[in-house]
């Protein structure tokens, strides 16, 4: 494996020099909308969209400037200002990896902004929603653009904050408030890993900046222990943000937020951050074949299966999609464990997933919009005639995610599977199995929603959504159609990313007729057929059947919440109660006891003051005698 090309300090102006504008525009938007408050209610959403689009324009211009440079200069560090003197400066790193993310974040993000104009048109708090969306985009851009771990961490937590605000957007619903808090707290567990990882990095390598880190490692290859520790700690961070096992539990609850938020969290931002972290640190801390890279692969494989299994049992359309996100991110993690080729497919899948998952989520939102915010798929059925555009775009997204040949998901997912099998047979074939399950649960979703009998509530009048919502859907489904082929065929993405993530010994070669590829297709077809047998051909009961033990297992999110509750929450509550009791009775009790003791004993001593003058006289006499005696004694010595 060849290491990535050296980072050069950006000197000239141009769009790369002004790439901080990408972060600044949406941040400014958020600030204006929050500070001016109600005054901006009328045009706030337009400002939000404009800021996001402006950011997208900057990203495109910077991208064009970057590909105009020769390959060995495509990693440009832009110094901004001195952040913590003597420790770290704030700066941006514009390279193929970060710019790919920027394009995805601002592009898909802008589409989600536009869509939200329509989706949130009836919400009195639409302006606040757009300010949070802008904040989200801004934080995510800082995360991917920062040229050091501290800046990355600020963006990382900023994303956490924005997701907290957005998941809890309908804060008056207790469930939303709890879900928001849960997302933040679980994310913080991951943040702990990233934080401690930074401690180890700076202590070992004396820098937190990517460019210096590369040089430090090249000049002085570190021992395995520290690097393994760093890798595992960063992986913990990635698990939190990307909802990988064992920190996946927040993701399903996060569906409490408005649907565009789910699209933003799941497609363009947030959950991709963990993958970004692993890929960005890959050259430093996740060398191929190292134990920490294996850990990444195991986490990815386990999560892709867990997410897929959860997805099979959900009747809530958003939760089904959430399970699918877990699963797809699991694929990316699995890919990110296997060096530059893996990175390419992981990032490729991340980009295509960004499109088709946003497409699916926004499509689900469009369905809900037409169905009085009903999320239960058992109350849908036969919607393809009522909302044709939504159906068409959703269907394209569906074909893309199950890996239908020639659509985007086919290329990128297949790439990951083949790379995985090449390196690790067991995990690779598990990924093939996961693809089959994906075929089942996604087909189930499509059949339950758009086909079969109408099972609508009496007051439901499904209708197609307005253009402001359907146009973004069309754009996204276009991406879901062609993007995979464009990126993977003739290795476009691989060659573009090489300066940032390094080159493999052998460039990837996409095979249309490999054994794993054909096996995947076969399993997907079986899964889809089984779904047709159970949900397409047969009547879907509009009340959830009791289901077998396995169904319940999946419905309960594999008992992840129950596990967290019994392992952390309840013992935590006990610990808190004990600590409070100890503080009040133990520590403070000791203090108050001492005070009471002194008070009590002085109360007794007080009794010596009887008020009888002759008693006092007697004690004076005794005292005098004692003194005289003492003096005599001393005098005699």
């Amino acid at each position: 494996m060849e290491s990535p090309v050296e980072i050069v300090q950006h000197t000239t102006g141009g769009m790369i020099g002004a790439s901080w504008l990408m972060i600044a525009f949406p941040l400014l938007g958020a600030a204006i909308l929050l500070v001016l408050g109600r005054m901006t209610n009328r045009w706030g959403h337009l400002l939000g969209v404009a800021m996001s689009l402006a950011s997208f324009v900057v990203a495109v211009l910077a991208f064009l400037e970057l590909i105009g440079l020769p390959a060995e200069q495509r990693r440009q560090a832009v110094h901004l200002y001195e952040f913590i003197p003597g420790m770290v400066d704030m700066g941006l790193l514009v390279d193929p990896l970060s710019i790919s993310f920027c394009l995805l974040i601002t592009g898909v993000g802008s589409l989600i902004h536009i869509y939200s104009i329509g989706y949130m048109s009836h919400d009195p708090d639409r302006r606040r929603f757009f300010s949070y969306l802008n904040l989200f985009v801004s934080a995510m851009l800082l995360l991917v653009l920062a040229d050091n771990y501290v800046g990355l961490f600020i963006g990382w937590e900023g994303v956490g904050l924005a997701s907290y605000l957005l998941i809890g957007f309908w804060y008056f619903k207790p469930s939303a408030a709890v879900a928001a808090k849960k997302a933040f707290v679980v994310n913080r567990v991951g943040d702990l890993g990233l934080l401690v990882g930074m401690f180890v990095i700076i202590t070992t390598f004396h820098t937190l900046t990517f460019s210096d880190l590369g040089k430090a490692i090249a000049a002085n290859p570190p021992s395995g222990g520290a690097v393994t520790a760093i890798g595992l700690l960063l992986l913990l961070g990635a698990c939190g943000k990307s909802a990988q096992l064992p920190l996946q539990s927040w993701l399903l609850d996060a569906m409490e937020g408005p649907t565009p938020v789910s699209a933003l969290i799941h497609a363009a931002t947030m959950v991709t951050a963990g993958v970004y972290l692993v890929v960005r640190s890959g050259a430093f801390f996740f060398p191929e074949g190292s134990p920490q890279a294996l850990a990444v692969a195991i986490v990815g494989a386990a999560t892709l299966l867990a997410g897929a299994i959860i997805g099979t049992a959900k009747d809530d359309i958003k939760k089904g999609l959430a399970g699918s996100t877990m699963s797809q991110i699991g694929y990316m993690m699995l890919g990110a464990a296997f060096g530059p080729v893996g990175y390419t497919f992981a990032i490729g899948h991340l980009i295509t997933h960004g499109f088709f998952k946003a497409d699916l989520f926004l499509g689900a939102g469009s369905v809900m919009h037409g169905m009085n915010d009903e999320v239960d798929m058992r109350k849908y059925g036969g919607l393809r005639k009522a909302m044709p555009i939504t159906f068409a775009t959703f269907f394209i997204g569906y074909l893309a995610i199950i890996g239908f040949p020639m659509l985007s998901g086919y290329f990128t997912k297949d790439g990951i599977i083949e790379t995985a099998i090449e390196h690790n047979q067991v995990l690779g074939w598990l990924a093939v199995l996961g693809a089959g399950v994906t075929g089942f649960y996604m087909s189930r979703m499509v059949f339950m929603t758009f086909f079969g009998q109408k099972r609508w509530a009496d007051d439901a009048h499904p209708h197609e959504s307005p253009l402001v919502m359907t146009v973004p859907l069309m754009v996204l489904s276009l991406g879901a159609l062609v993007l995979g082929a464009y990126l993977v065929l003739s290795n476009r993405l691989y060659e573009f990313l090489t300066p940032a993530v390094g080159a493999a010994e052998e460039a990837p070669h996409f095979a249309f007729t490999s054994v794993p590829g054909l096996a995947t297709l076969a399993l997907v077809a079986i899964g889809a057929a089984f779904a047709w047998y159970k949900y397409g051909r047969a009547e879907v009961p509009s009340v959830q059947p009791r289901g077998s033990f396995l169904t319940t297992f999946a419905r309960r999110d594999l008992y992840g919440d129950a596990l967290n509750e019994s392992l952390f929450m309840r013992p935590g509550q006990w610990l808190t109660r004990i600590a409070v009791y100890f503080d009040n009775r133990g520590v403070d009790g000791l203090v108050n006891g001492l005070a009471a003791g002194i008070g009590g004993s002085s109360g007794r001593l007080r009794r010596l003051q009887t008020g009888f003058a002759r008693t006092y006289a007697l004690s004076i006499l005794f005292g005098a005698a004692l003194l005289a005696g003492a003096l005599l004694l001393v005098g005699n010595i």
């Binding site: 009888f612 003058a613 006499l621």
Partner: protein, 98 residues
Amino acid sequence: MTTHYLILSGLLFAIGAMGVLIRRNAIVVFMCVELMLNACNLAFVTFARQNGNLEGQIIAFFVMVVAAAEVVVGLAIIVTIFRTRRSASVDDANLLKY
């Protein structure tokens, strides 16, 4: 040859102290305090004589002055107490306690 004076002084002091401790009448207690003071005066004068200087005698004068002032204040207090409480017993005047 001053030993006898000192013994006398000690006896007077002991008598005074006993009186303060066992008598209840405020006037008698007061007298006993005076007796103790004068016992001290006697000792001072004796020591002055023994050491051949005047310091003891000077102190005796101081004590007398202070005793006189004390008599003035003390008797006034006793008289006032007697007026209000119709009693001159020191044990009855025990309100100033814990």
